[in-house]
Amino acid sequence: MLFKKIAFVDLCQNSGAAVLAVFAKAGRLFAFLGCTLKHIFTPPFFYKNTLQQFLSIGYYSLPVVGLTTFFTGMVLALQSYTGFTRFNAESAISAVVTLSITRELAPVLAGLMVAGRVGASIAAEIGTMRVTEQIDALSTLSVSPYKYLVAPRIIAGTLMLPILVLIGDIIGILGGYVVSIHVLGFSPSNYLSQSWDILQFMDVFSGVVKAAFFGFIVTLMGCYHGYNSGRGAQGVGIATTNAVVSSSILILIFNYLLTQVFFS
């Protein structure tokens, strides 16, 4: 009986501590977010840093996003063909490829790829700057680390991911087209007109809005975990892992929530 009581108290204590830890973490994240938003909209602005981030987050992610969406479009056409021939619905392939890519696959896959490529590098870079006291050095030189490091990355992530996704949409649909025409033997003009007819503004728009959210999430998580990195190489390693894992999970959660908002 006594043993059971002690076990129960332990359980309460542990679960209470876990809940408190979650709230403390959420509080720290929201404080970081609030500080970041304030610094994004108040001068001085570091234009050169922001442009640099446009390049490194946007332009240099293009090959990864392009390849991912291209092969996804290809495999989507192939898979839908093998499924749809069973009930003679081959003509729906173009619609499936176009809608899946624009609504879901381009934003989510681009988001996840950018989380791996950009989120990790942001967390590692800012984490190393924290460990080597470069962030403290910025403060002592009268420059806010939020303005100099965080704001440019978040602005670039939020604005560049939608553009990446628009390009990914085109490349993904092209992937589906290539397989449909050259492997499955569809007529090019039919395929293209079917794709175009099914497409509505909302399909592309929802994907682009999702991309903006995902870009914001990836860069925010990268900056937050890097900024609060622990000491040494191990601290930076943990920060990098946390940045990628948390942004990937948040992307999947927000993808569902945004889909619910757009299409319910």
């Binding site: 001085p44 700057m129 080597t132 006291e133 470069q134 403290d136 050095a137 403060s139 002592t140 030189l141 009268s142 420059v143 100099y148």
Partner: protein, 267 residues
């Protein structure tokens, strides 16, 4: 040791710490610290690893918040300053970090000119000119200006970091373990440079170190931190006759004495 050149005229306190305490979780790092540094004075805080030296410096710089007590810089309580005043205060500071803390994404000259370009909004061309002068002042040629910090040796990085710390002609300069990790000759070069820079600028200096040769060279006054408390403070001339057995053990580097052999590692 020529401590006679010290400016004895100015006695206005520049930095005052009044009953300052700081804890991390259950671990108390600073206990009721009282310390006054007068204008134009060079104070050196000595103490072993984990005694709270770095935390003291970071509290004054506003990089960490003290739990209790008051820290005043130039007569103003730093906790009561708004962000503009804090910005203005930071413009008075220069800091030499232990590891240099140079921005590895920027070339050497931009590192040195960083405070001028971003803190003081100076034109880049003019800032570069001043940066080159400061690089020259720390005994390095203009040839390093366009290199990146990773291409420099440890001693060179420290000198560039010193140039960055003095680039804005600050009124108060902090030196965090300025000679750690340098060979004895380079350490002496850095000490000379610090002495020269502080004298030339007429700045107030606060250094933390456990290198006694460095402390003897750059200090006007010495304070010793032990387990988060200031256990002795006095002019450098009295360091050898402090009458404090902790200080005696520390400055003579003896393994046996009142200071426990095993000192706690840094938080």
């Amino acid at each position: 040791m020529s401590k006679t050149s010290t400016k004895k005229t100015a006695t206005k306190p520049m930095i005052e710490m009044d009953h300052v305490s700081k804890s991390f979780g259950t671990k108390t790092v600073l206990k009721d610290i009282n310390l006054t540094i007068n204008k134009g004075e060079s104070m050196v805080i000595i103490g072993g690893s984990g005694s709270g030296k770095s935390v003291t410096l970071k509290c004054i710089l506003g990089l960490m918040e003290n739990d209790s007590g008051v820290i005043k810089v130039d007569g103003r309580d730093i906790a009561e300053m708004d962000s503009d005043e804090r910005h203005a205060l930071m413009n008075k500071f220069g800091m030499l970090f232990q590891g240099g803390a140079l921005f590895d994404s920027l070339p050497v000259w931009e590192n040195v000119a960083f405070g001028l370009i971003h803190g003081r909004k100076m034109d880049r061309r003019q800032a570069r000119k001043i940066a080159l002068e400061k690089i020259d002042a720390v005994g390095m040629g203009a040839s390093v200006a366009d290199l990146y910090p990773a291409e420099l040796s440890g001693g060179m990085q420290k000198r560039i970091s010193l140039a960055r710390a003095i680039a804005t002609n600050p009124e108060i300069i902090f030196f965090d373990e300025p000679t750690t990790g340098l060979d004895p000759i380079m350490a002496d070069v850095i000490n000379d440079l610090i002495k020269k820079c502080v004298t030339d600028l007429g700045a107030t200096a606060l250094s933390i170190t456990h290198d006694m040769a460095s402390a003897r060279k750059i200090a006007d006054k010495v304070a010793m931190l032990y387990q988060g408390e200031i256990i002795w403070t006095g002019p450098i001339e009295k360091l050898d006759n402090s009458g404090n057995e902790y200080v005696d053990q520390f400055i003579n580097g003896r393994a046996n004495g009142p200071i426990a052999k095993h000192t706690e590692h840094k938080k």
